[in-house]
């Protein structure tokens, strides 16, 4: 094996994600990624995610040149001894990951388990400002999960129902508990369950609008995070609310870990590799690149996936 390996771990409240980048001497980039439940032990979850991501990239621990931990549990992330590490917030990492996929993006909406963030990027791709939800689960993944549990449905079933919605129905978005009650009231009132399910996603989208309005709505928008990964209806609700197309990266849930791995490479003395610069500057895969959800561990951001190892812009 040749080249340098950089790791990013995003320890979220629900899931811990890891992305590993290898910049090979020939200019190719190999990508590995993994996701695992965070549970109660971030050290354990991060070690597991790193191990799986390294395996999928065909790399081993001792090759890691540098690493970045991000996410709610970033302080608890464990990297192998001797690996230079930094801690960077998920806000910066999501912005970095999304920008790599979509260089022209101006707004990144990250809907995670505990937090929803709206990040505004300036022309140069730097973070101009950001907003995070208040201390409240409404408008986050937890909001959806708790209502799905109340309904006795898996989240995937709620999403499938929502995608069949035909009528516009809006739910209160200010309290998870009261929204659950409102959902039950709507069911009793005879509203279609498909429309009620879509109303839940609209409730989240309305919270996003509150945060987005402050920075204006100029420029392309990308959505990241676990909710966007698992729920097509979330993207639909966002597009409906924003009245613009919203880009969904190939692996939205890994955007923070991807950004962390890129920042690990950029912050490393030896991370200034020509391959990384090519990856960052390559014109392909910008805004408008079609989404990919193939789940192939080696195709983090290719427009279409068939099993090769390119970082961006090439068929894989």
């Amino acid at each position: 094996m040749t080249g340098r390996v950089f790791a990013g771990v995003d320890a979220g409240s629900s899931a811990t994600k890891c992305v590993v980048l290898r910049f090979e001497s020939g200019g190719e980039t190999v990508v590995g990624h993994a996701v695992t439940p965070s549970g109660f032990d971030y050290a354990d979850a991060s070690a597991r995610a790193l191990r799986e991501a390294l395996a999928s990239a065909g790399a081993v621990e001792r090759e890691i040149a540098s690493a970045v931990a991000t996410g709610y549990g970033r302080a608890g992330v464990r990297f192998p001894d001797g690996v230079p590490r930094r801690s960077i917030t998920e806000i910066t990492c999501h912005a970095r990951g999304a920008r790599e996929w979509y260089p022209a993006v101006r707004h990144v909406i990250d809907i995670g388990g505990q937090d929803t963030k709206v990040i505004r990027l300036c022309d140069r791709g730097r973070m101009a400002d950001y907003r995070m939800n208040a201390k409240c689960a409404a408008g986050t993944g937890t909001f959806l999960e708790s209502i799905a549990v109340r309904l006795g449905l898996p989240l995937a079933a709620v999403d499938a129902l929502a995608m069949q919605s035909t009528a516009r129905l809006t739910l209160n978005s200010y309290c998870t508990v009261f929204t659950s009650t409102e959902v039950l009231e709507r069911i009793k009132a005879g509203d279609a369950k498909e429309d009620i399910a879509m109303g839940m996603f609209r409730a989240i989208a309305s919270r996003v609008i509150e945060m987005l309005a402050a920075g204006g709505r100029d420029g392309p928008v990308a959505a990241t995070g676990g909710v966007v990964t698992h729920c097509r209806a979330m993207l639909r609700a966002l597009e409906e609310a924003l009245e613009v197309p919203v880009h969904r990266p190939p692996l939205p849930q890994h955007a923070g870990a991807y950004g962390a791995a890129l920042l690990a490479a950029e912050g490393s003395a030896e991370g200034d590799s020509p391959a990384l610069h090519r990856a960052v500057e390559a014109p392909g895969g910008g805004v408008g690149a079609p989404s990919c959800a193939c789940g192939d561990s080696r195709s983090l951001n290719a427009p279409s996936c068939a099993g090769s190892t390119s970082l961006r812009g090439r068929p894989c």
């Binding site: 709610y72 801690s87 960077i88 917030t89 998920e90 806000i91 910066t92 505990q114 937090d115 730097r126 973070m127 101009a128 400002d129 950001y130 995070m132 208040a134 201390k135 402050a214």
Partner: protein, 413 residues
């Protein structure tokens, strides 16, 4: 961040402050027990000079509210007040103080060996800061069967005009008359002038202490100021407090002369708008310290840096200063003040604390941060929290917000 162990340099005057506060509270306790003395409760920017000139020992319950917050026990007190019908979203100082009274405990016992706040003979509030103080004092007036009097100055002023001053002056004269009748006292006007002169000297000294933070690196931070501001609130008109601030000022000037930094390796300078988050002071100060960021100025600490007494009518000065405080001004005046202060202290960004139960001391709810960000190009962060009720504050979320804010500034440099 924080990988290099950097030590905080303690402020030497802190020991003297502790002794000063101890004497202040022990004296209050003695006054409450002495049939020959009287205790008055007063709001923090109320007419305390009049009360001191009448000979009352003056106590400020807002200090107790902050203390309950700092001791991280407010959230145990607040539900008690809520049970009496005080909304949990009303002032958390008020609610925790009322709850503390209902529970019959106070941290003052452990700190100074006294039973708690001194029993009042008189309670005087001014609504120049908010309306909640009126309800707060009404509760304790009823509780102790003590006289409650209030000033209701004109609010949300742009320019402080002669007619506003005249209005408050009339209210002050009426207050004096009420006290004279109720307690069969006569106000010694010469004593009032002397008290105002000392109060002004104290306030000016405090302003000079705050101004030492204009130096790069700053010799003290907002977190230090929050501790050292106690005498300027509690002991206005006191020679002891004047001597204390002279010593503190000398120490800060010495720090500046020697280049001693409150945050060694100071990289960023921040303005704090709004109330402190008393239960999380340590967490916040350590986070900023680790990020090599000095919070060098604040609206809150500046609230007791009044304009100097010009030697004219003491009541005019009291009226003018009570009207001119930041919290009593209109949005345009507040914005202008913030813009000028950002510039004076050469800050790199501003944090606005959105205190859930203190709308009057929160300025992030009507677009001000966004307007300032747009106009000045200055990074601005709004932190959700509260002054005392920790249930409204998420430590993890706030720390991420603060770190991201610093990363945002790093990205701009």
């Amino acid at each position: 961040m924080g990988e290099t162990a950097v030590k905080r340099i303690e402020i030497e005057a802190a020991g003297r402050l502790r002794a000063l506060m101890r004497r202040y509270f022990l004296d209050l306790d003695e006054a409450a027990k002495d049939p020959g003395r009287r205790v008055a409760w007063c709001t923090s920017v109320g007419p305390c000079e009049i009360l001191a000139a009448f000979g009352f020992a003056v106590y400020f319950p807002e200090n107790h509210g902050a203390l309950l917050g700092t001791k991280k026990i407010s959230h145990e007190m607040i539900p008690r007040a809520a049970g009496l019908g005080y909304s949990a979203e009303a002032c958390s100082y008020m609610n925790s103080d009322i709850g503390c009274d209902l529970l019959g405990c106070s941290p003052l016992r452990a700190m100074y060996g006294i039973e708690g706040p001194p029993r009042p003979d008189l309670l005087v509030y001014s609504t120049n800061q908010c309306r909640d103080v009126q309800e707060w004092f009404r509760y304790f007036g009823h509780r102790y069967e003590a006289m409650v009097a209030g000033l209701r100055p004109p609010r949300h002023l742009g320019e402080v005009k002669a007619e506003h001053i005249a209005d408050v002056r009339v209210q002050l004269e009426r207050l004096i008359e009420q006290i004279e009748i109720r307690f069969e006292l006569r106000l010694d006007r010469r004593r009032l002038r002397e008290t105002v002169e000392r109060s002004s000297r104290l306030s000016v000294l405090w302003g000079r202490v705050l101004d030492t933070a204009r130096h790069r690196p700053s010799p003290l931070t907002f977190w230090d100021m929050l501790i050292h501001m106690a005498p300027v609130i509690l002991m206005r008109g006191s020679e002891e407090a004047i001597a204390y601030y002279e010593a503190l000022l000398a120490e800060m000037e010495e720090r500046n002369a020697c280049g001693v930094a409150a945050v060694p390796g100071e990289r960023w300078r921040i303005y704090w708008e709004g109330m402190p988050v008393w239960p999380r002071l340590r967490d916040l100060s350590e986070k900023f310290f680790d990020l090599r960021t000095a919070v060098v100025a604040s609206t809150y600490c500046n609230s007791w840096a009044f304009e100097p007494f010009d030697g004219g009518d003491p009541l005019d000065w009291m009226a003018r200063t009570s009207l001119a405080i930041f919290i009593n001004r209109d949005e345009a005046s507040k914005e202008r003040f913030l813009e000028q202060t950002f510039d004076r202290f050469d800050v790199d960004g501003a944090v606005f604390h959105n205190a859930r139960t203190c709308p009057n001391n929160t300025n992030s709810r009507y677009g001000m941060p966004e307007r300032l960000r747009e106009r000045l190009g200055l990074p601005v962060l709004v932190l959700d929290g509260d002054l005392a009720d920790v249930r409204f504050f998420s430590t993890a979320q706030s720390m991420t917000n603060i770190e991201a804010f610093i990363e945002q500034m790093e990205g701009r440099s």
